[in-house]
Symmetry: C2
DNA sequence: TCGAGTCCCTTAGATGATCTAGGGGTAGTC
DNA sequence: GACTACCCCTAGATCATCTAAGGGACTCGA
């Protein structure tokens, strides 16, 4: 029962992190994972088996759109852009995240 | 796909919140849920269907121990106490929570 | 030129926390 | 006598994430 391995992500934050990354412009999946890893000072790690299904979900939902291109390393890569709907979704999720994480902080502080 | 209803809890924080609540002394389940609700300024809401299985898990794991008693309202109630093992677990989970939520904050701030 | 390493994508299946939605019993109050 | 608040329990579903696999293509050093 005791889960020994440290989690690499907080449940429920992946979509938000992805959408936030895409705000700076189109990126391919692999780069999104790297960006999150780096911007979090290597604390957060997005597994590929989590990332790609999440991208698929977000695309289905209309939050992002995809097109095939070529990466800086000259490899075929699927680029994602955030849509208007995606920006709205991101704002909502960021608001929710703030509300809840602040609430947890409050409880733990008392 | 679009989940419309606002979540009432951050996934992965329930055990931590419960253990933290029990630090002040023994409490019965119903009161734990109320405490979390109140201390979070009514933002966090613990459903009974989440709470009791979590208490059962924690007891199985040896993080808390239980005994039957009578509540302030003169009702039969199951009281829980945090164990030494539970305090250790709580410290670890609090550390993990801080690390990860800070990391999310960092990413979102950039 | 060949092998290793990195880059990039995909997917099936397992896992596990939480919620939904039911159940039931008891005490106090109108 | 009914109603409300208090208190506990559990089966089943849901859903995000991870594990673990597989594959193709480019680059660079030996």
């Amino acid at each position: 029962m005791a889960k020994s391995s440290a989690p690499t992500l907080l449940q429920g934050t992946l979509d938000l992190l992805i959408l936030h990354s895409l705000q700076r412009g189109a990126m391919h999946g692999y780069a999104i994972a790297q960006t999150i890893h780096l911007l979090s000072d290597e604390v957060l790690k997005v597994e590929e088996g989590s990332l790609y299904p999440a991208l698929y979900r977000l695309e289905l939902d209309g939050a992002i759109s995809a097109y095939w291109g070529v990466s800086e390393n000259n490899r075929k890569a699927k680029y994602y852009e955030i849509t208007k709907r995606g920006r709205k979704l991101m704002a909502e999720q960021q608001e929710t995240w703030s509300r809840l994480s602040d609430a947890v902080q409050r409880v733990l502080a008392r």
